[in-house]
């Protein structure tokens, strides 16, 4: 217990002092995971809508792939992204391995199926007759889709939270494709692992507490938006 208490105190101290190293790591974590999440939303929501509402051959297969992707282990993603980005790999010329961009790519691959799969589920829970009703009220194709997204804002915000939650907390991919380089690719989770390995448990606990705190604040904000709109 003493150790955990020390960790809390350390966390408090680091935040109050505005420790530059910690601030850099926090900033990078938020930036990398934020960009990865937003990208996965930009692609995942349209794809999820198409799969959820559309009828096309191979739809079942695509949906199964997406659902499998929702449980993709970050280390597996890290491994394959590494292979692709290695200097001798297919995308080696881009020289992206051990850069923040590499982490963004890996985290995008983790969040994308999560967002897509939850979008599919959200779209499928809308009564198909409601779509007919909207068309009957004179909705154009774009208006119809926009209205459906509005109707599903509760599960859609859950998709945002799940996507962000998956990437801000993962370590396998960040470590493998980022390399945990101080001041460049070190993020909250990789820093926590490193400090634990070094035996600096108080710093590790402080980092964990801060990571949890950030995740809580972001989800709190999203939940507030979600519940304000929904329960009314």
């Amino acid at each position: 217990m003493e150790l955990i208490w020390q960790g809390f105190l350390q966390a408090f101290r680091l935040i109050v002092q505005g420790d530059p190293e910690l601030m850099g790591i926090m900033g990078l974590s938020l930036k990398v995971s934020g960009i990865a999440t937003v990208s996965s939303l930009l692609l995942g929501i349209p794809l999820g809508t198409v799969i959820g509402l559309g009828r096309f051959p191979g739809r079942g297969l695509v949906l199964s792939l997406v659902n499998t992707g929702m449980g993709l282990p970050p280390v597996v993603v890290g491994l394959f992204v590494s292979i692709f980005l290695w200097r001798s790999g297919p995308l080696g010329v881009l020289q992206l391995l051990y850069t923040p961009t590499a982490i963004i790519i890996a985290q995008f691959i983790i969040a994308f199926p999560v967002v897509t799969g939850l979008t599919v589920a959200a779209m499928q829970q809308v009564d198909p007759r409601f779509r007919l009703q909207l068309l009957g009220l004179g909705a154009s194709r774009v208006q119809l889709l926009w209205q459906l997204l509005r109707e599903t804002r509760l599960p859609m915000l859950a998709a945002v939270m799940a996507g962000f939650g998956a990437v801000i907390s993962e370590i396998g991919a960040s470590l493998m494709v980022g390399g945990n380089i101080l001041g460049y690719t070190r993020v909250m989770t990789t820093a926590t692992v490193l400090e634990t390995a070094k035996g600096n448990f108080d710093v590790a606990i402080a980092l964990s507490v801060i990571l949890l705190g950030i995740t809580f604040l972001i989800n709190w904000g999203l939940t507030a938006i979600q519940q304000r709109g929904g329960a009314g």
């Binding site: 009564d127 007759r129 409601f130 007919l132 009703q133 909207l134 068309l135 009957g136 009220l137 004179g138 909705a139 154009s140 194709r141 208006q143 209205q147 509005r150 109707e151 929904g230 009314g232």
Partner: protein, 374 residues
């Protein structure tokens, strides 16, 4: 023809090689209320979706305001925006009552102030003005359906489609809503197509009625035509003439024909069909008088007096439905009081009496001819 707002011809809809709808021709005239009645599963909703341009027919042509409809999103959108549809389930958006009624106007890009004015007018007209700011999905079934109606009327459509809008409501709620809808429809002079399996609703709202069964429209005509002169046995049985007797004309004299039933009884009817013609007789239940056997000797102008035994008594509120077994069942409705006075109960000997002029006669040939032409 120029008076038709909407017409379909040669319409066929198939689902996986099964034909669910086959309508040779149907037109909706300007400012009329056309009701399509038929049992569940008759294809009424499918027909309505095709008419409302929400579903493309497998084959056939839809004509709206004199022009053939091209089933392509770009062409359909402006046409759909001249229409409005109310479904059985209110299908409300997860927003306020006001927001729901505003939906169609927002799709049409109407300025917000104009939207607000029209929405408030129709909310008041449907008696839900005080609920404007409430979340729509927290309201009762009747209120929800009022939102759905207001949401359609606010669009001031050229044609309004109503797909069993009251089917899910309890009967006092349905009654009030029906009365309000009736008033709005008649004062606005709107063209409407109303689909229902409830004859009472059809009778109240319609000027013209189409009877639909198994994907086909069997008869279209005035309420009087369809209910009192059904063209076929199927129509007759659906519109509530519950006693339907097949028979053959054996003699005719001076407009009065004798029809022999398969069981051997003779029925006299007012008609001028030659002997040998096969007919179906429809006896409206409220035209049948039930009397006890000892009253048989009393003078009556009714030509047909059939002795029988009461087989079944079904109470229906203030009326009782009596099934009399005369070798074939005859159904009569009598008041509760006279059922008590006559001590009507299963096994009681009675006489079922009805006038020769109270029957409706359908020529068998008409039925065969009508159906075999396919």
């Amino acid at each position: 023809m120029s008076d038709d707002v909407l017409a379909v011809s040669g319409l066929i809809v198939t689902y996986q090689n099964r034909t669910v709808l086959e309508v040779e021709h149907l037109a909706v005239r300007s400012q009329e209320i056309l009701t399509i009645v038929g049992p569940n599963g008759a294809g009424k909703s499918t027909l309505l979706r095709v008419l409302a341009l929400l579903q493309a027919p497998t084959r056939g042509e839809v004509t709206f305001q004199g022009k053939p409809v091209v089933h392509h999103p770009r062409h359909l959108l402006p046409l759909r925006r001249k229409m409005a549809t109310v479904f059985q389930a209110p299908l409300l958006s997860d927003t306020s009552v006001h927001g729901n009624v505003a939906l169609g106007l927002r799709f049409r890009g109407v300025p917000p102030r104009e939207i607000d004015r029209r929405v408030r007018h129709w909310l008041d007209r449907m008696g839900i003005g005080h609920l404007a700011d409430r979340p729509a999905r927290t309201l009762s079934g009747g209120e929800a359906q009022r939102i759905s109606l207001a949401r359609a009327f606010v669009l001031e459509p050229e044609i309004l489609f109503l797909d069993e809008p009251f089917a899910a409501l309890d009967s006092p709620t349905r009654e009030r809503l029906l009365a309000d809808l009736e008033a709005v429809l008649h004062e606005s002079g709107i063209t409407a197509v109303f689909v229902t399996h409830e004859l009472v609703e059809a009778l109240r709202l319609a000027r013209r009625v189409g009877v639909m069964m198994e994907g086909r429209i069997l008869q279209v005509g005035s309420v009087d035509d369809v209910f009192n002169r059904p063209v076929s046995e199927a129509v007759a049985s659906f519109v509530g003439m519950e006693t339907i007797l097949p028979g053959r004309v054996v003699a005719e004299h001076g407009g009065l024909a004798q029809v022999e039933l398969p069981q051997g009884q003779m029925i006299e009817i007012v008609c001028e069909l030659p002997p040998g013609v096969h007919v179906v007789l429809c006896v409206p239940p409220d035209e049948v008088i039930i009397a006890s056997r000892d009253m048989l000797s009393q003078q009556t102008s009714a030509r047909n007096q059939l002795p029988g035994l009461v087989a079944k008594v079904t109470p229906l509120g203030s009326l009782h439905r009596i099934t009399v077994d005369c070798g074939f069942p005859i159904i009569a409705t009598v008041t509760r009081q006279s059922a008590l006075d006559l001590k009507l109960e299963p096994g009681r000997e009675v006489v079922a009496t009805f006038k020769a002029s109270s029957l409706h006669v359908i020529r068998r040939g008409d039925i065969d001819g009508g159906d075999v032409s396919k």
